[in-house]
């Protein structure tokens, strides 16, 4: 009997996973790529090949431009703040021997709760007349604000909710990263003269968190670009498209207006954008990261 080659056996073992990967990830992506070249409408029996027309139309599309700008602003706010806050929380929790489990659970809670359910809570908290937020503002002598109803503040408000949602997730990743730093390094640093909190952070903690930092930054960026539920649940992109974000636009184009070809083109742009951003981030940060 002929012995099968190592590569052949390897492929055989990888086959189930490869099958799943093709069926659920690569296949659908290719399907979307093909659909983006058509004028298909959901339910329509005819499909016309339109080439790159769907893509050519995008730069002139006001909704797309607004959604892109809003998404960039949202991600630009949520990513750095939620990463910095996550790191700060992790450092505080790690530094205190008291209530570690409680704080860890408390700050992680937003990650495990359903966004749509929490949207109801936020809507109440931020209600223009009944919400505790405004009651507090009024009690402190400030004018009440319509956080979610005002086109000028809605995106910042959603970003704040996004930070609340994501900081706990980043915190848990940072906590794991902090645990991996050997204690003896801090002791060596203390003997060598770096014993203030600030010196310890810049000499040991921050550089050795490099790989974690890179991972968290990439994940946080991707997560913030994928903002959807809170918009769909609370603002529906309003008022006056001030909270229109890319995923919500794609959803509306595809499932409210049934313009699948257009939605598919948007999806491809969204995907490529994420890919480029993540690659850029890994290149930029990766050069400064030390891997032990």
């Amino acid at each position: 009997m002929k012995r099968p080659s190592t590569a052949g056996v390897g492929l055989l073992f990888a086959a189930p996973a490869m099958f799943g990967l093709f069926l659920f990830v690569i296949g659908p992506t290719l399907a979307v790529a093909v659909m983006s070249l058509t004028d298909w409408q959901l339910g329509a029996s005819e499909i016309g090949f339109v080439g790159l027309d769907n893509y050519r139309a995008l730069p002139g599309d006001r909704v797309f431009r607004t959604a892109l700008a809003n998404t960039l602003v949202y991600a630009g706010l949520v990513t750095p703040i939620s990463v910095a806050l996550g790191l700060g929380l992790a450092l505080l929790i790690e530094a205190s021997p008291l209530g570690r489990g409680f704080f860890r659970a408390a700050f992680f809670l937003p990650v495990v709760t359903t966004t749509v359910a929490m949207a109801v809570v936020w809507e109440f908290v931020l209600h223009p007349s009944l919400g505790p937020a405004n009651l507090m503002l009024r009690a402190l002598g400030f004018a009440p604000a319509n956080f979610l109803g005002d086109a000028g503040s809605v995106l910042a408000t959603l970003a704040a909710i996004g930070v609340w949602e994501n900081a706990g997730f980043n915190m848990v990743l940072f906590l794991a990263g902090l645990k991996a730093i050997p204690r003896e390094l801090y002791q060596a640093a203390a003997v060598d003269g770096a014993d203030r909190a600030w010196e310890r952070f810049w000499t040991i903690t921050f550089p050795l968190l490099g790989p974690t930092m890179l991972f968290v930054a990439v994940i946080a960026l991707l997560r913030s670009f994928k903002v959807f539920e809170i918009v769909a649940a609370i603002t529906q992109g309003g008022p006056r498209r001030a909270s229109e974000v890319l995923l919500f636009t794609i959803y509306q184009e595809g499932f409210s207006f049934f313009r699948i070809g257009h939605a598919a083109a948007l999806t491809m742009v969204f995907l490529c954008g994420l890919l480029v951003l993540a690659l850029f981030q890994i290149r930029l940060l990766g050069r400064r990261v030390h891997y032990a």
Partner: protein, 387 residues
């Protein structure tokens, strides 16, 4: 620079790790603290460094109590068992860190500050010079740009030493610095550290579980068991006059032989065979006679004054031989160190007699404490080779 450790006690929770430890080091002295793992020696070192607070007692450097001072204010340097090199920094940056922390202010340490401030530039320049000097001392110059991850164990160990000595601290603290090296490198580094310490003349506390390191490097040794200092003395003191059975067993390879014995008047009985002893006021209770392997002398089995024994196993080491023996007086067995030529002719199960050389004999009483005794020569001397 002198170090005084006075009545230090420490517990972790309900577990006491140090009981009233007192040690004195003179200027430039090299003290090895040796003991089995878990005896509290590393904790003692960390208390001296200021990494761990003591529950009671005082640490004095040059007579001044330093208990309230953080590590950096004590001006001590420490080499950790894991070396604790900063993995993200080059060798040069690792060695320079203690200098940068001491000689540069917070603002001056900012990257690029030397471009603005000539004074910072001058200080940085001086630091580079000192780093080079320390690197040269440990032959690290070709490695200055490498990261710790790219170095071998021995090289990392030398970087840790360079980082410790670069700022000329008042006190060197070394915590098992050789335990991660292989045997050949350990022997070589042992000598290098001892020479370096003598050259720099820095007072040094060296913690190790390896009695060979302690014996070969230190000018004095403190032997610790279960959080207490059992004996302090020169290597010769400790070997020739062990204060207890524990010390006698811990120091010396192969281990000292322990034989059950009893004393009646001026005679010491081992397995019923008497020999003269000069010791005051010993009860006839069960005693232990410790005999160093080199003091166990092989004799003719027909010699009625000799202790009867049987060879169980012979280790031929080239320069010498170790003869493992069964004898009724030593339940755990006994080992004799003999000339290689004599070991070569011994066979397992061969019957043999044993005499003791007076210089390698130690008597221990109740609780394992040493009993002062002299063992007058019996005239047996070193016996003729066994045929």
């Amino acid at each position: 620079m002198t170090l005084g450790i006075d009545g230090i006690a420490k517990s972790f929770g309900a577990t006491p790790v140090l009981h009233d430890v007192t040690l004195q080091l003179g200027d430039g002295e090299f003290l090895a603290v040796v003991g089995p793992s878990g005896c509290g020696k590393s904790t003692l070192l960390r208390i001296v460094a200021g990494l761990e607070p003591a529950d009671r007692g005082t640490v004095r450097i040059d007579g001044v109590p330093v208990d309230h001072l953080p590590p950096k204010a004590r001006d001590v340097a420490m080499v950790f068992q894991s070396y604790a090199l900063y993995p993200h920094m080059s060798v040069a940056q690792n060695i320079a860190l203690p200098l940068a922390m001491r000689d540069l202010g917070r603002v001056q340490r900012l990257p690029g500050w030397s471009w603005i401030s000539p004074r910072t530039r001058a200080r940085r320049h001086a630091i580079v010079g000192q780093v080079r000097e320390a690197a040269a001392m440990l032959e690290l110059e070709p490695l200055l740009d490498r990261r710790p991850g790219q170095l071998s164990g021995g090289q990392r160990q030398r970087v840790a030493l360079a980082r410790a000595l670069v700022r000329r601290p008042r006190l060197f603290l070394l915590d098992e610095p050789l335990s991660n090296l292989d045997a050949a490198l350990r022997a070589q580094t042992r000598n290098e550290i001892a020479l370096l310490q003598r050259r720099l003349g820095v007072t040094t506390v060296y913690v190790t579980h390896d009695q060979v390191e302690a014996m070969t490097m230190a000018s004095r040794i403190a032997v610790m068991f279960a959080g207490r200092v059992e004996q302090v003395g020169t290597p010769a003191d400790i070997y020739e006059r062990p204060a207890s059975v524990a010390v006698a067993e811990f120091i010396g390879t192969p281990r000292i032989n322990l034989l059950t014995a009893r004393v009646e008047g001026d005679r010491l009985f081992v397995a019923g065979r008497p020999r003269p002893i000069a010791a005051a006021g010993i009860a006839a209770a069960d005693l232990l006679l410790g005999v160093r392997p080199e003091a166990l002398l092989l004799a003719d089995p027909a010699d009625t004054r000799a202790l009867p024994a049987r060879v169980s196993h012979v280790e031929y080491l080239g320069s010498e031989g170790l003869v493992h023996l069964h004898t009724d007086a030593a339940p755990a067995g006994a080992v004799a160190r003999v000339e290689a030529a004599r070991a070569a002719v011994l066979r397992p199960d061969q019957a043999i007699g044993l005499h003791f050389a007076p210089t390698g004999m130690h008597l221990f009483g109740a609780g394992g404490r040493r009993i002062a005794a002299r063992f007058p020569a019996t005239g047996d001397g070193v016996l003729a080779a066994v045929s």
